[in-house]
């Protein structure tokens, strides 16, 4: 059955080059394509860096600083509950926050930090990145938390006994031992950002575009052949990025166990 379902998408995507080939030439000769990809990769890298730092810090706190298992699970659930609610709703919930008359601007003006509302908050790169981080940090926390929870405490104890500082313990014990979780989280976040179109569409207010959004617009204009061509290119690039991560870290052990 899984074969059947995976066959679905394989079938759809591989059937594409069979009847439309000329679209690739157009894609590669266009300068817009390059800008689109640069923008997409820029978003992906910024969001990846932020979610990595936040996800690592949150997991580290939960695993090594929360003592009771009950509290640990409770706080972990608190972090994962939004995952089970609608992404679109969570995204639009930033609009009343960041808007021109939004909560954030009113608070800033109330405090006397600025006299004019800040325009760059909503419908900008800033808003897009905030929304991405808000939506996707969970995908970083869950795998990192899982691999950190498996670290043997006695290793950390031994390092403390040996007089290591906390920083050295983090860098030389915890980071290497949780690297499969970090790799898995990175794969999730990068593929999610690369494939997204609705966050960019809504949160940038039409000011910036990514590959996914361009594809969505082509589909909306019933230009299926070029959309399918860029779908294949996007798929190749995402696969290459995932393969690069898998080369650095062997995730298989983690998944297989």
């Amino acid at each position: 059955m899984i074969i059947g379902v995976s066959f679905f998408e394989y079938d759809g995507i591989s059937s594409v080059p069979a009847f439309q080939f000329g679209n690739y030439a157009e894609l590669f000769s266009s300068r817009i394509t390059l800008t689109l990809y640069l923008k997409t990769i820029e978003y992906a890298l910024i969001v990846w860096a932020i979610t990595l730092v936040v996800g690592f810090t949150v997991s580290y706190f939960l695993v090594f600083h929360v003592r009771s298992i009950l509290w640990q699970m409770g706080l972990f659930l608190l972090c994962t509950v939004p995952f089970w609610t609608s992404n679109i709703i969570r995204m639009i919930s930033w609009i009343p926050f960041l808007g021109r008359n939004g909560i954030f601007n009113q608070a800033l003006m109330g405090l006397g930090v600025t006299s004019e509302p800040l325009e760059f908050l909503l419908f900008s790169d800033f808003a897009v990145i905030v929304a991405y981080v808000h939506l996707f940090t969970l995908f970083m926390i869950v795998p990192i938390f899982n691999s950190m929870a498996r670290i043997d405490r006695s290793v950390v104890e031994a390092a403390l006994d040996g007089g290591s500082s906390r920083w050295r313990i983090i860098w030389e014990i915890i980071v290497p031992l949780s690297k499969t979780g970090i790799a898995l989280g990175s794969i999730f976040v990068i593929t999610l950002v690369m494939g997204d179109f609705y966050v960019v569409n809504t949160m940038s207010g039409g000011h910036s575009a990514t590959v996914g959004l361009a594809m969505y617009n082509q589909i909306a204009a019933v230009q299926y052949p070029p959309a399918a061509a860029s779908a294949v290119i996007l798929l190749v690039i995402v696969t290459l990025m995932v393969a690069a991560i898998l080369r650095l870290v062997d995730v298989r052990r983690e998944l297989a166990s």
Binding site: F8, V58, F61, I88, I89
Partner: protein
């Protein structure tokens, strides 16, 4: 990490503050939406509140104002229930099958993981194009169902792997020794033990399908599901009705979460008090005493 259980290092407080900020970041905007959906009749999309009313909730049910909310809602729930049942059934069977290394199990596993990280719009496009090529009419119960299963099945399978890694095959063998048929072993031994894991899979199947957007967008056909309605509203509707819809859908998700987590907790609690747990506790105590 702390050796002396009394005093906590300053880093604990710094990290707690960071964590609290993160939780506020997660839940703050959502709670603002809940409050704003009770906006008074003259109120706008942001604070301040101009009175309190249920006006925007009732606006949802007037079709011409906000699109076909009731229809989308019914279809979403129906689709989510179909996805839930298929995901649970297939993940459990596939998870059990993966315990033996059958021919081609590795490629199948990688295909499943690949479809998990495949960008949703591409899946939707692929399924949509296939339907077009085959001259079939896409609809929410056929093409959208297939597109959503590419997301929920790998999730369900990974959860079943985690659950099954803690499953002791000795229970099955005990059943066989007592003369149970394969069918009886499955229904009377395996399913009851795996039941909490199956609830977790069901939770994922339901909520992922109910909120699924990028895969469904190109495959739902003429009749939309709820996320499509919301998407349409983000561009057309500039009234707090949008927030009211957000509140309603989030409440449905929360009900699903509470029901499933609650029933898992009850089952685990019962187990921890049942005769099995008593025996295990006894065994643990004996082991501890012999170690002394």
């Amino acid at each position: 990490m702390q050796r002396d259980l009394g005093k906590r290092p300053w880093t604990f407080y710094a990290l707690s503050a960071f964590f609290a900020l993160f939780v506020a970041f997660l839940y703050g905007p959502m709670s603002a939406i809940f409050v704003l959906s009770f906006q008074g009749p003259t109120g706008g999309l942001t604070f301040p509140m101009n009175g309190v009313s249920l006006r925007w909730f009732s606006a949802l049910f007037q079709q011409e104002r906000t699109g076909d909310f009731a229809g989308g809602f019914t279809r979403s729930i129906a689709l989510a229930l179909i996805v839930l049942s298929l995901t649970v059934a297939i993940s459990v069977l596939a998870g059990l099958a993966f315990r033996r290394r059958f021919v081609g199990s590795t490629p199948v596993f990688y295909l499943a993981v690949a479809s998990l990280i495949m960008p949703g719009l591409l899946v939707g496009l692929g399924v949509g194009l296939t339907y077009q090529t085959l001259e079939l009419t896409p609809s929410w119960y056929s093409s959208a169902l297939g597109a959503q299963l590419t997301l929920t099945l790998p999730f369900g399978l990974l959860i079943m792997f985690a659950v099954l890694s803690r499953f002791d095959r000795a229970y099955e063998e005990a059943g066989r020794d007592l003369g149970a048929s394969n069918w009886q072993i499955f229904w009377m031994v395996v399913v009851p033990i795996l039941f909490p894991g199956m609830i977790a899979v069901a939770l994922f199947g339901f909520t992922l399908s109910y909120d699924e957007f990028p895969r469904t967008l190109l495959t739902a056909g003429a009749k939309n599901t709820l996320p499509m309605e919301i998407w349409g509203m983000t561009t057309n509707v500039t009234s707090p009705a949008l927030y009211a819809l957000g509140t309603v859908t989030t409440l449905v998700s929360f009900v699903a979460i509470i029901l499933s987590l609650g029933s898992i907790a009850i089952i685990q609690w019962r187990r921890s008090r049942g005769p099995m747990a008593a025996k295990m506790a006894l065994a643990n105590t004996q082991a501890a005493l012999t170690n002394e």
